[in-house]
């Protein structure tokens, strides 16, 4: 496990990558990407047992991560690249013609690190459960992780999957919800309230862990470690992680407006002024 300072340093560079990537093509999803930066940096640099130098689709004896809310591809790509799955330079091809870094992640172009296409929401939990079942059949004790948006929970397939996972004791699986309370049309509470999310997943038979500070590196790691402590105990594990959409860029926080909008030149300069270059831009 890298120390907290190192992880925070990496997170700042990832945030620079995110705003630069979406600015370069005037499209993409910076808000959720910035909000989940600390989670993905922590996951891939200390929590996940994975091999970034020799990617295989099956990931035998490796922990596997599935991004279900595929629109936050900028943070996913940046973290994968900076873990060594592919050259950091490739981030500049994001959303451009002939790129492996499609608007939403895909296996179609064989980008190392990606094991399923996502973008159409609500499908990743089922896929993660399937991968978890395969691990069990293969007597592979690795852990399956997934990340979902809170708005994504409005998709019915999520609840089909949630029902299945507990009924079948899929206990080698940790799902995390990016609970930022915002979606394209506004606040989740107003668009379609999720009600008491913790109570819902508990009623569905899940072990629920709450990470109150999803943009605090130490809290994120502690949340994941606590979630891991419930592995193998007969229940799927849900990590409800509160985050701030747009975290790290002051004018992108406190609103849903940066869900799927890119900054202009002036806004980019302002954002980068708040995110000091640490490991070198791509």
């Amino acid at each position: 496990m890298a120390d907290i300072i190192q992880l925070q340093t990496l997170a700042t560079q990832v945030r620079r990558d995110i705003v630069r990537m979406v600015h370069a093509v005037s499209s993409g999803h910076p808000g959720g990407s910035l909000g989940c930066t600390d989670f993905l940096v922590a996951l891939y640099n200390g929590v996940l047992a994975h091999n970034s130098k020799n990617f295989t689709m099956d990931g035998k004896n490796e922990d596997l991560f599935f991004l279900s809310n595929g629109h936050i591809s900028p943070v996913y790509y940046s973290v994968l690249a900076r873990c060594g799955y592919f050259p950091v330079e490739e981030l500049k091809t994001f959303r451009k013609l002939n790129s492996r870094l499609q608007g939403h992640p895909t296996t179609h172009d064989h980008l190392p690190g990606v094991r399923i296409a996502s973008g159409s929401l609500g499908q990743g939990m089922s896929v993660a459960i399937g991968a978890a079942l395969a691990k069990k059949l293969n007597k592979d004790n690795s852990i399956i992780y997934s990340l979902h948006g809170d708005g994504e929970l409005q998709e019915g397939q999520i609840w089909e999957a949630a029902l299945y996972a507990s009924a079948n004791k899929v206990d080698n699986y940790i799902a995390t919800i990016d609970y930022n309370g915002r979606q394209i049309d506004g606040d989740v509470e107003n668009v379609l309230s999720l009600g008491n999310l913790k109570a819902k997943f508990e009623a569905f038979g899940w072990q629920v862990v709450e990470t109150e500070k999803g943009n605090d590196m130490k809290a994120v790691i502690e949340g994941l470690e606590k979630a891991k402590s419930f592995i193998g105990k007969g229940k799927p594990i849900m990590n409800i992680m509160k985050t701030e959409m747009g975290a790290g860029v002051d004018f992108m926080m406190g609103t849903h407006k940066w869900h799927g909008s890119a900054p202009n030149d002036e806004q980019l300069a302002k954002a980068l002024g708040q995110l000091k270059e640490t490991l070198g831009d791509y």
Binding site: M57, D58, G59, K60, L64, F66, T106, T107, H108, R115, I116, A117, S118, G119, S120, G122, Q123, G124, M125, S126, V127, A128, I129, G130, A131, A132, L133, A134, K135, L137, N138, D140, G156, Q157, E160, A161, L163, Y164, A167, N168
Partner: protein
Amino acid sequence: MKKYTYTEKKDTRSGFGAGLSELGKTNPNVVALCADLIGSLKMDAFKAENPERFFQVGIAEANMIGIAAGLTIGGKIPFTGTFANFSTGRVYDQIRQSVAYSGKNVKICASHAGLTLGEDGATHQILEDIGLMKMLPHMCVINPCDYNQTKAATIAIADYEGPVYLRFGRPTVPNFTPADQKFEIGKAVMLNEGTDVTIIATGHMTWKAIEAGEKLAEMGISAEIINIHTIKPLDNEAILKSIAKTKCVVTAEEHQMNGGLGDSVAQLLSRHTPTPQEFVAVNDSFGESGTPDELMTKYGLDTINIIDAAKKVISRK
């Protein structure tokens, strides 16, 4: 006309069940999933023989497709089982993103396709599934014609790397293909060589094409009969070779005219050799409740419809 006989009528879904059971014994990577239709899909034997490799997912087809996609990550070869309607239309986006676009080795096995599902009516009688599935890039689409061919197809697709849609049905139909006939994905089966008209049939319509060929022979018309079990990839070579000889074609399928086998054949011919073609298929209509035989008659999918189409297309040459 070559003589075809059969000793018994059997349902194609039982061919699937038998093939799956055999795969359970021969291929340890094969796993099966079902959405609360084990008996209807004849998956009982596989389940009993391989309980650890069988997943009952309940009435949740979208979740089933996603779990199947995930199971491939780790080397499993998942066979999903439910009715054709719930295997395609209900879960189209899940198949499109998590299976087809993701290039996952999932075998989507669909029973009760078409009108011959019978009394349950139009909600369950999907006639659009071939079209839906063949439009997906790199999706292999197979619609076998009898028990033996369905069993052989089930076994064959386990060795094929990539997503497959395997379509079969509910009623018993003549089991006439040889039990030891090798199933080659993408290869047409020549049932009868003829010179006046080519009849291309898939699924349950294949036996009716044979019956039509016998009747046409009595009228002095020599029909070449080709069974297309693989609608995608289509055996272009076999079709073009036959058309070069007969100069006209009838396609027969238990499916909408729009988007079916006939469409695929027409597209091939219009690009290579524009040829008169008649379509025996459902013409832009939903089905309804009734016995399979009554429905096939009402919606124009009988032997007589193939005979009439053959005579008509010959007159258009």
